[in-house]
Symmetry: C2
Subunit: 350 residues, 2 copies
């Protein structure tokens, strides 16, 4: 029944049990170890090579999947082991994610500044490669002060986010060399061959647990302001855009929460259907909309934060204000996109 | 045929000729004179009383209608008289419109700042009444510098637009006392009893001329980027939002042009159908969307202009940047609203 709910056109013929979970965890653990080996071999320069970036992504990817499966299918696993493992995996994937997040945020903000200034006067960044010297591209002198502002804003964001990224890189390197990390890696190495299932796991149906994960997602989505989100140009995302609160908009939090629950639901499905299972493209689209929501939300916050830098020029601050609002519009656009894809999904599975 | 195109459910039984035009022009001229008398009686203080504001609006309203009818139905009217009259009416309604435009722009921008700062710390403006002392409301000291920025941006816009409005008021008073104005008023007084129709006007069908006005509108709409406008969150309106050009966005011009052509089409219909004719609500909705487009476009330009004020604080500039982007977003929302109402219209009359 739960499986029918998940995929009405392709119901599973028989209950999926703990053996499928064990197989999934073993393969993700193997993937984790492979990525770790690759990461060690490809070096650790800040920014790093393409291979090293891909390896770090693969590490995070498998850590998230192991952690998510431990959460959704908790009753089938040794409780002490599971409870000890999850926070360590969360710490690891969180630490590894920071460097990439800063690089992606800078890329997003510079691309937006390019679009907004309609000029090629901004630093030609390629985040993900070695960081260029900050402020490397001087603003073209014949342009008006607002475009100078855009170039200065770009240079300021470049400095701040490159610094943050460099720090995140050092933190990640330290983490990967720490005894804490080695303890996690050892546990994952054991997991690759030996999954601590409970005695009952072999005959326990995973379906109801996967359905519960889906239910948590649906409940959280039901609490979202989807009617507003589905009405274009509702101007909600920029409300309080000039409020004094330096923290990210509280209105974003429920969307971030749905993003996490959607991911858990997706991983729970992967366990049920296996590596060659059907891909739900609507689920992917909804997830991409929520990723975009998170990225735009954090980029908007970074622009607002940069505007608090002491002694910046008014033209720089103006450009950062335009940029902040632009990214909050992106937040609103992402909510609209999520609403559209979720609506299709609900109609399709009703 | 033209009438069927205009109003398929209510075709006019017989051709409407020059007599209807004469009746329309006489009644608009009478309205003009009534409004002028009322305006003189209700005084001329800056900001003015509600009655004086209403009288000025009625003056502009009838001036626009006379001018528009002279344009659309030109072949039925004495050419020399008509060509002498139109620029004078345009000058008059343009001059009278400025004071109201500055007041409405300030109101729109302060309302947006209120919304964006989610606070009551901004000057409690009531544009349309006597202007308050600039910067009358001090920012609450416990708020962060961005909200201080919003309050300062509000005070700056208040100063600049109140000054512009005061100047526009003086200019309008001078205009109303000028010999140029008295010459127009005299001509309108004659028009109230005697419309200079051509000899053929009494038997000329107005239909084809009204249809030509509608055709000009349709052609201009067909040249608009409606596919883009109908796709929510296309982010077109803010492209070049940081470009160095201080002039309003060139991308707005075709929309402003459609706004004028839509108004001409509406007035042409009023002549055909008379004062008790059917109101096309879809046409009204499309016109309101274009009014909103124009207002938001000019408000965005005013925010950008204010950001060029020398020696403003970075927090003020930041708030003006957010405000500019917010109003450009309004521009985009208005285009979407126009696209939606126009689409309905096209389907309904197809």
């Amino acid at each position: 029944m739960a499986q029918q709910h998940l995929e009405p056109t392709d119901p599973l013929a028989r209950p999926v049990t703990g053996e499928a979970l064990a197989g999934y965890l073993r393969s993700q653990a193997t993937e984790f170890l492979r990525a770790l080996r690759q990461h060690r071999e490809t070096g650790a320069a800040a920014g790093g090579s393409q291979e090293s970036v891909a390896a770090a992504r693969a590490l995070r990817r498998s850590a998230r999947r192991i952690s998510g499966s431990l959460h959704t299918y908790r009753p089938l696993l040794d409780a002490d082991w599971s409870e000890g493992m999850r926070p360590e995996l969360a710490w690891l994937s969180g630490t590894l994610a920071m460097e990439h997040a800063h690089a992606a945020r800078l890329e997003r903000l510079l691309a937006a500044l390019h679009r907004l200034s309609g000029s090629a006067a901004l630093p030609a960044q390629t985040p993900g490669t070695t960081p260029p010297a900050p402020g490397g591209a001087p603003p073209a002198p014949e342009r008006g002060n607002l475009t100078v502002g855009a170039a200065k804003a770009g240079a300021l964001l470049d400095r701040q986010l490159t610094l943050a990224r460099t720090r995140a890189h050092s933190t990640a390197l330290q983490a990967l060399g720490s005894s804490r990390f080695h303890a996690v890696a050892d546990k994952v190495a054991v997991l690759a061959s030996e999954v601590p299932l409970t005695a009952a796991a072999a005959t326990t149906d995973l379906g109801p647990l996967a359905a519960a994960a889906e239910e948590r997602l649906r409940d959280a989505v039901a609490a979202l302001p989807l009617v507003t989100a589905g009405s274009p140009y509702n101007a909600e995302a920029l409300v309080h855009g000039l409020s004094p609160d330096p923290a990210p908009h509280p209105q974003d939090a429920p969307w971030h929460q749905v993003r996490l629950l959607l991911r858990l639901h997706r991983y729970a499905r992967e366990v049920l259907y296996g590596p060659d299972g059907p891909v739900d493209v609507r689920l992917l689209a909804a997830g991409q909309a929520l990723d975009r929501h998170r990225d735009a939300s954090e980029a908007a916050a970074a622009a607002a934060q940069a505007a608090r830098t002491p002694r910046i020029a008014p033209a720089t601050a103006y450009a950062l204000g335009v940029l902040h609002a632009d990214q909050r519009h992106e937040v609103e656009a992402a909510r609209f996109a999520f609403q559209q894809s979720w609506q299709k999904q609900t109609v399709a599975t009703a």
